[in-house]
Amino acid sequence: MPRPRYSIFSLARNALAYHQNWTEAWRSPAPKPHYKVIIVGAGGHGLSTAYYLAKEHGITDVAVLDKGWLGGGNVARNTTIVRSDYLFGESIALYDKSLSMWHDLSRELNFNTMFSPRGIVKLIHNRDGQREAERRFNALRLAGVDSEMLTPLQVKRLAPMVDISPGAAHPVLGATLQRRGGIARHDAVAWGYARAADALGVDMIQHCEVTGFRIEGGRVKGVETVQGFIGADAVALVPAGHVGVLAAKAGFRLPIESVTMQAMVSEPVKPCLDTVVMSPIPFSLSQSDKGEFVFGMSTEPYNSYSQRGTLPHIEEISANAVSVLPGLSRLRMLRKWGGVLDVSRDVSPIMGRTPVEGMYVNCGWGTGGFKSIPGSGWAFSHMIAQDRPHDLMLPFGLDRFAAGALIDEHAASGSFEAFK
């Protein structure tokens, strides 16, 4: 069904009508008795999977179910950093496909995702860090992906707030820079994909918790929900932190543990940092368009589904950030929040088949979920449509754990604490 395009003209027209005539961005239909594909989880990855299923593979008989509201989980709870500076070839290929797609996403979706490629500066504080950074820099350049090594003076030029004096508690020895990386508007990505998928005929069904699966002879026949049974030829699990809960209902386990990651945001101040600064000590930092400083942290130390983190962690991250950017010391914090991360044992995603026939899983994105939304959905839709993994996701199957072919991205992922 055609939707009016968003443009400067539609904005002007609606402004003149006192914004009374905007139409809904997507429908809220009752579920049909049967769909070709059911996607569980209306977050970034679920919605992008639905969009590319419809657009690239012509499969529009698709429903996206969510326990809560659309885009209310981790896609609304991250620090919006988009980058592809990973270490191993498999990861670089997947994340860089995604990063490339981000650059054209607003036009593709006719929805302003406010993607701002302002560069990712990853600081180096010691010689081990220097070796890790150089190794990653070389891996990226060999893969043809942009990365630069910076001297402390070049860091100072890009981010004058960073203290590069040799006597600092965490002296800055340099940094890596990925200029194509940046930040985006978190909600816009979910809403943009939802609106574009809806226009192609995909049903968004909110407040429809999946309570179980109907499995006959090892093959999935549909899902039991709070709104009744819905039949399906294929079921794709994309519920992020709650994937273990759904896997248990389907009768299998995953190499995943759910932990909290926190973020917090300061009061708005005048623009003074126009790049993303990350440090392995750890903390990450960017300044939003509204002027707030957005602080990212590392994962919390124990399993949790609580969506809130611990205070000692906030204290630690604040101290880390102030020691490297002393100018932040008098900032007041406005709010903090947490999300439930599905962290796999090698901190790389799990995409592919499950032990149940007709059921696919896309999970384990952990600390890398937001940046990978376009690429993940694009590759995963290929798997569902053709029952064959796309080359990009082939190394990320669940079978890699028995094979021992792990893709250990602890250093590059942002989950700075080696997980257990």
Binding site: G43, G68, H242, G244, R253, Y302, N303, A402
Partner: protein, 101 residues
Amino acid sequence: MLLIECPFCGPRAEVEFRCSGEGHIARPETPENISDEAWADYVYMRTNPKGLHFERWMHQHGCRRWFCVARDTVTHKIRAIYKLGEAKPALDEPKTEGEGA
């Protein structure tokens, strides 16, 4: 912050401890005779429950001894603390309605 009752030192703050994940995972007796899948199940697969979780903890900045904790992964409420080698205590599964996607 959690107040954790170390079975050896008494109540201490959460920051003194390290959580080491799911407990009661028995190492296969004869690893050389089991399949790769069974070994991967032992090494990597986890139950990851929403609700009651049986874990191993260590008093890292104290006596550095290991013990077991039964904890709710939604409310973080500690239900029981017991020593390594003891059986899982019989506890009711909590009601965990609420947040989450």
